[in-house]
Each structure stands twice: as structure tokens, then as C-alpha cells.
Amino acid sequence: MVDQTDHAPTMGIGAYVARHIREYGLLVALIAIMAFFQIVTGGVLLRPVNITNLFLQNSYIIIMALGMLLVIVAGHIDLSVGSVMGFIGALAAVMIVTMGLPVWLTMGVCILAGMAIGAVQGYFVAYWKIPSFIVTLAGMLVFRGLSLWLLAGQSVGPFPQNFQLLSTGFIPDLMGVGRPNGLALASGVLAVGLILWIGLRGRARNARYGMDDEPFTLFLIRNAIVAAAILFVTWKLAWFRGLPNVLLSMVVLTVVYVFLTERTTIGRRIYAVGGNAKAAKLSGIRTERLTFLTFVNMGMLAALAGLIFAARLNTATPRAGFAVELDVIAAVFIGGASMSGGVGRIVGAVTGAFIMGVMNNGMSIMGIGIDYQQVIKGLVLLAAVFFDVYNKNREA
């Protein structure tokens, strides 16, 4: 029999884009939406103060989207994150404001509490095989109720200065330039350099193993857009107050989770469990433990989001985090994750969260009522998922 050792044919740019339409489409959609709101808001959207606001407003959604992506890739869902986020904020308020405990202790306890909440929910999902929809629906009610109880129905605040910095603080300009902020500019340039270096190194490695790769022109165009965006954003931030603390934690977390999902064995195994749990189990993967851990992780990130949110509002309210789970889940699905598990990327989820964030922000600036905002966000979610399904059908 003839051994066919033909290599992957080198594809044209068009064919490559067609095959990766989802990833490029998402980037193009984000740019288009930003351009649209930039025009209709008369340039308000991309003002330094508003860009800073965009990050501050959406940080907690993005942070939770990282965990939600893992949960959804593993084939589950977590409806409780909004309530958990609110509950942790309430817990922090009670500990700091009412009981006067130190901030560092409170933060430690809150993160551990979030993990414990995730562990309990994950235990029922992973080891008792109760559908995650039901377990976390119960969690959503329980923790909404518990935050009401903790706060006794009142808003509790304000927080001390050092806790607020978690969300509203800015990294001091180490370069000492002042305005524009030297650190912001330098880190923008550094980030662009790093992204290019990693990209080129990856291409070299792919070429060595004969993997089919993005055409070089496309690589340049894509990176040029990303680089321009980063430099633009850091330039703008430099003219306001520099790099927000929250931006730093967001970027670090995103990088960590990209690495975790794409390069580590544990990431691979989560995708395998979501892709086919039975086959994964029969391949020696401890599927229950992995599922359990994705929920623990989700609980941890929901707690972090809760702290950041409370710090930003400078108060804990019983309604904090209400319906936020829907924004988080929508961001992950807009980002291309599949409801049936096994498919989805961190970068997609983060982009999806930004798309939601820019729309929220842009529509608010335009003064569009909350009623229409909901309708439009819903339609965007439907359109994104329709686009996925349409492409999948066309492939088949």
C-alpha cells in the first residue's frame, strides 16, 4: 500500500481566513463596534478617562469570564457567580467595615471562602453527577439570600482607602515623568515587543514541525492591529492617570490562563473532558477531580471579582452582582465557546467580554435606556452564536 507522506498544502490567505473565520471575525467585530461607538459618541468612547473607565467597569466580568471559560469548556455552566461575587463583597464589607478586621486578612479569607463555595458546588457536580445547571442555580439563590442576610438588607460602606486601591488605584509612575505617564508608555512598548517575540518564536517552531501556519502577511496584519491597539490604549492611559491596578491584575491573569489552557497538561485534560468525558476517563484522566477543580477555580475568581467590585463601588450592596452571571456567560459564548464543551479559548472569552463592555459603555454614553441595551446585547449574543453554527454547518 502506498504511504501518503504528503504535507499539509500551503494555503492561500483567503482559505486560511475562511478556516479561522471565527477568530478573525471576533477581532474585526470588536474593532467595528469600537469604531461605531467612537463615531456615534462623538469621540467620547476613546477619551483617556473613558478608556480607563472601560477597564475599571469591566474588570470583574473579564476576570470571571476566565474561570467561566474553563467551566464551559469542561462541559458545565456556573449560574451562581453573580451571587457569589455579591456575597463575597458583603463578607468583605462586614469584616472590614463592621468588624474592623485588617484588609489583608479579609482578602485572604474572602478568596478562601470563594474557593470553598466553588468546592461545594463542584463536589455535587463532579462526584454526584448532579447537572451543574441545577447545582449552581441553587447556589445562585442561596448566596443571593446569604448576602441579603449578611448585610441585613442595607448597604455597608465605605471602605478604607487601602482597600479601595484594589480597584481604583493606579500604579505609580516609576519613570517619574508624570504626564504622559512613562510607565504606561514603556509597558505598552514592552507588551508589543513580547507579543511579537512570542509570535515569531511560535512560527519558527511551527515551521520546524511542518504545521500549517498563518500566512506571513496575515500574521503581520493581525499583529499590526493588535500592536496599534495596545500602543493606542497605553498612550491614552498615559495621558490620564497611568495604568490602573486592575488592568495589571487582569493582564497577568489573562496571560496565566492562556498559558494554562494552551500549554499545560491540566489545560489539555480539561478540553479532553469537555470534548468526550467517557473517552477521557478511559484514557486515564481523572475527570471528576478536574471538574471539581474548575469549580474551585471559578469560585476563587468570583471572590476576586467580588472584592474588586466592592472596592470600586466603595460599598457592598445586597444587589451587587445581580444578573452579572449572564454577562459573563454571554461573553464566553460570544468568544466562541461551545455549549457542549471542549471548545473555546481564553482570548476569545476576553474579547467577548470587551465586546459586551464596549457596548454597555457606548450605549450608556449615548443615553440609550437599559431596556434597549438589554435587547441589543441579547441580539448580539444570538448573532455571534448563529455565526458559529452557520460556519460549522458550512464546513460539514
Binding site: Q4, H7, A8, T264, R268, S283, R286, G342
Partner: protein, 504 residues
């Protein structure tokens, strides 16, 4: 008798692939016509063209049915003329009753109100016709696959079938059920129903078919009278070459005992007092291929799964020894660490992650070997996948293909690659050639022989007796959770195995 169906020069193109290239098929009224061909040869595509799944206009060529040119826009159109197709994956609704399934979409009703007495009466008549002794109110999920197949045929009969198309009807059936189904086909033929049967099982084809059309690479190779036709001739046309030996030669030499099972007992996962495996013991030596024969439901898969990380059953007792030392096989990762590998019966739902690439599936069971401190080296991963692609001859443009795009035989090779990469000492192969074509089967057999030559111990579970006879050094015959006999290669024959099974 004249031709009931003529498909003339059918060509069907998918983006980038010519699935059918000038295929012609002529089926005489009242005959049983077999279509044979390797996986991916185009058999199913041809049947989809015929039944209107691919509507007229999406293919080139001419279909003449019952003397009239036919242009089917949908399945409904072809069904109206009595062309009914029964797919490999049965299309019954498990939670509905037999009667509800048979008349689904075709209800006995006046103005939307179902006439249940009439439905049940007609169902009973149909069940009698196909020889299924069940009441119309029985829920379909309580029936075995064989009986479900009969329900499908009864459903076809309810639509006044003239041309019945069966796609691999016996692939999932036991020997007994298969025989009953084939007898039914012959009986229907007596009543004037014409059938087209797609099958890999050439002995069945020879038994029931009047003529045979062989398709290879999307083209008709030959149409032959079944009378006096030999299996070798069909195989030759299917693979395009002579296959002197259906089973590759192997030097048989057994080394020391690698794997031993002692007093293995397994309880049913739900029914507490039911034991699925009873006091079972066995040994496999290095370089030995040991077969396990038995009917469906004899407990063969249950045995394999219970040994492999207790993936089946409860209250498991007994001992597993490797090289004479007891080992812990209580979870799958421990079983793998002990040197066991299990190639599952159902590769799509239990063996592969279809949405992932060949590369990722290959390393799945031994991810640690291509990773350093938990970080996967995708270069090393690619090299591993490439090595197995070449050595197992997985036919694919690259290891970055998703496995769902591969044919059955190539998918099975990916599963084998996954387990070979764990470097096991004992491989348990559960129906490794089910549903794959003759050429790929031969390659799988060669791989099994290479493994045993390399000193691996192999347990082969198979429902195809010729396969067991062609490959194994010893064969255990299993029935109702026990070994009821053991035959050496010299003693074994289909008759000997069968008589051991029925003697119980």
C-alpha cells in the same frame, strides 16, 4: 423480471472531493441486491442520492424508478414511491412505544386525533409479519438492538415498501439475530419486496444476495451474479488487488506469563444480586494473542472494562497480577501505570475525542510523556503523532486533522496509536475491526501481529469467529460471565466454538 431501479452515471461532488464518480447501479424487481465496498467507497452517498437526502440537482446523472424518471427533492418524495432506507444508526425514539414509533409521522388518525385501537391492530399485524413477539405498547428502549432493527423493518412495511435499503443491518447484531434478520429479508423477497443491502460481511452477502455490485473509490467496479461467487472475488474487487491471505502470517512463540487474572467476580452496576462475571481466571503470556469468543451479552466487554480501572460493575473481587506480582488496577490511571491498555469497542463514544486533532488524541493517555513539569511540548507531541501516523499508516494529509474527518479504519488506528504510546505490556482489544473495511482490517491484523512479535501480550475480543481463528493462539469461550471452554489454535473451529456456547 425487469429493472425496478436504474441509477445511471451518478456523479456527486462535495467541495474538494468527488464522492461519486460515474456510478451506475441496476436493481431487478424482486431481488436482493448487495452493495459492497470499503469504507469511504461511496456506498452511503449513493444511497443518500437515491433516497433524496441529496435532492435532485445536487448531483449529476439519471435515476429511473419503476420505468419512470425519478427526481426526489426530499426523503418524503422517495418514501411516497415506496423507497425506504434503514440507516446504520437506528432512527427510533427510545422512550416511545413500538406502535408509536412505527406510525411516527404517519399516524393513524382522523383530523389529528389518533385512532389507538386501529394503530395497535395494524402494529400487531406488522410485528407478526417481521416475526417480533412483543406487544405494540412495549417501549423501544427496553428492546435489544436486534429487535429494534425488526421494529425499523416493520415501520418500513407500514409505508408499503417496494424497495428496502438496509445500511449495514447486522453490524451491531449477534450471530443469532443476524441470521433471523437475513431470513426475514428472504421472506420479504418472497412477498415481492426488493432489497438493497450494504454489508461488510461477505458470508451474509453470499447467503442472501442475488447479485452484488462492488464500489471502489466512488466508481462501480463490477456487478456480479451472486451464484457461484466466491468471497475472494468480492474482496479482490473491493480492494483492487488479490488478497491471498485474509490474515497475515505470524510466528507463534509465547514467553513467560505477563498477565494473570485470579477469581475475578463482578457485580451488575445496578442490580445488586446479579453477577456479571463469575470466578473467572486467565493467563496471557508475552507474545501471545488470546481470544475471547462469545455471543453479545456474554460479558466479554464487562470483563475487560472491569479489569481496566473498574470502569464497569460494582463489588469487584479477585486479583490482577503482572509478571506474577499483584497490581492495583482500581482506577484507569493505575491500570495504565500497571501496563494495561484497553481499546474500546465503541471508538466514537469511548475511544476518541472527535472534535480534536489526531495529534492530541494520540498523546491523550500519556500526556505526561510529552510534557515537562506540566507544560506540554507541542513539538515533541507532533513528532510522536507523526511517528505513529507513519508506522500505523494512518491515511490523512496531516496529524492536525480532526479525527472526525477520518474513515473508521483510520480512526481505529488513532485509538491504537494512543494506546501504543502508553507502551503497555498487555493490550485488550475489544472488537478492533468492527465496522471497518477489508483493507484496513488487514492492516489492523498486521499491527496486532507486530505487537505480539514485540513481546506484548494481547487479549482479543471479537464477534467475528474467522478473525479469532485467524489471529489467536488460544481462544476462551465465554458465556454468561464464565469461561465455558478453552481451545488451542489447532483445536479451534467455528463449529467447536459454537458448540461450546450452545452446550451451556
Amino acid at each position: 423480471m425487469g429493472a425496478l431501479l436504474r441509477m445511471d452515471r451518478i456523479t456527486k461532488t462535495f467541495p474538494g472531493v468527488k464522492a461519486l464518480d460515474d456510478v451506475s447501479l441496476e436493481v431487478a424487481e424482486g431481488e436482493i441486491h448487495a452493495i459492497c465496498g470499503e469504507n469511504g467507497a461511496g456506498k452511503s452517498t449513493l444511497m443518500k442520492v437515491l433516497s433524496g437526502v441529496y435532492p435532485v440537482g445536487s448531483y449529476e446523472g439519471q435515476i429511473t424508478y419503476d420505468g419512470q424518471p425519478a427526481a426526489f427533492g426530499s426523503i418524503r418524495d422517495s418514501e411516497d414511491l415506496g423507497i425506504i432506507i434503514i440507516h446504520q444508526e437506528l432512527a427510533l425514539v427510545p422512550l416511545l412505544t413500538i406502535a408509536e414509533n412505527i406510525f411516527l409521522g404517519n399516524e393513524r388518525a382522523t383530523r389529528g386525533v389518533i385512532d389507538w385501537p386501529e394503530t395497535f391492530r395494524q402494529t400487531e399485524a406488522l410485528l407478526a409479519k417481521v416475526g417480533l413477539r412483543e406487544t405494540p405498547g412495549t417501549r423501544v428502549d427496553t428492546l435489544g438492538v436486534g429487535k429494534q432493527q425488526l421494529v425499523e423493518i416493520a415501520k418500513a412495511l407500514s409505508k408499503n415498501v417496494r424497495l428496502l435499503i438496509l445500511d449495514e443491518p447486522t453490524a451491531a447484531l449477534s450471530e443469532g439475530d443476524s441470521q433471523a434478520l437475513l431470513d426475514l429479508l428472504l421472506e420479504l423477497k418472497g412477498q415481492g419486496v426488493t432489497s438493497i443491502i450494504i454489508s461488510h460481511k461477505l458470508n451474509e452477502v453470499r447467503r442472501v444476495a442475488d447479485s452484488v455490485t462492488v464500489i471502489r473509490d466512488g466508481a462501480t467496479i463490477s456487478t456480479l451474479e451472486a451464484k457461484g461467487l466466491t468471497e475472494d472475488r468480492i474482496v479482490r474487487d473491493m480492494v483492487g488487488r488479490d488478497m491471498a491471505h485474509r490474515y497475515p502470517e505470524r510466528e507463534r512463540r509465547a514467553g513467560e506469563v505477563v498477565f494473570e487474572l485470579r477469581d475475578w467476580n463482578v457485580g451488575h452496576p445496578e442490580q445488586r444480586d446479579r453477577r456479571m462475571i463469575r470466578d473467572l481466571s486467565m493467563q496471557v503470556r508475552a507474545g501471545e494473542v488470546v481470544g475471547i469468543a462469545g455471543l453479545m451479552g456474554a460479558g466479554r466487554t464487562e470483563l475487560a472494562m472491569s479489569v481496566f480501572g473498574r470502569s464497569y460493575g460494582r463489588d469487584i473481587s479477585g486479583q490482577v497480577l503482572m509478571h506474577g506480582r499483584p497490581v492495583d488496577v482500581s482506577t484507569v490511571d493505575r491500570a495504565i501505570a500497571a501496563g494495561l491498555a484497553y481499546v474500546t469497542e465503541d471508538r466514537k463514544t469511548l475511544g476518541l475525542i472527535l472534535d480534536e486533532t489526531i495529534r492530541r488524541n494520540t498523546v491523550l493517555a500519556n500526556l505526561g510523556a510529552v510534557a515537562t513539569r506540566g507544560v506540554v511540548d507541542d513539538g515533541r507531541e507532533t513528532e510522536v503523532a507523526e511517528t505513529y501516523r507513519r508506522s500505523l499508516r494512518i491515511r490523512t494529509p496531516s496529524v492536525f486533522q480532526k479525527v472526525m474527518n477520518l474513515s473508521g479504519g483510520n480512526q481505529q488506528k488513532v485509538v491504537l496509536a494512543k494506546w501504543l504510546f502508553t507502551d503497555p505490556e498487555l493490550l485488550i482489544l475489544d472488537e478492533p475491526t468492527r465496522g471497518i473495511d477489508v483493507g484496513a482490517k488487514y492492516e489492523i491484523y498486521s499491527i496486532i501481529n507486530d505487537l505480539s512479535a514485540a513481546g506484548k501480550a494481547v487479549i482479543l475480543i471479537s464477534s467475528e469467529m474467522p478473525e479469532l481463528l485467524g489471529l489467536c493462539d488460544r481462544i476462551h469461550v465465554m458465556n454468561q460471565g464464565r469461561f465455558v471452554g478453552e481451545l488451542t489454535a489447532a483445536e479451534a473451529s467455528q463449529e467447536a466454538i459454537m458448540s461450546l456456547i450452545v452446550r451451556e
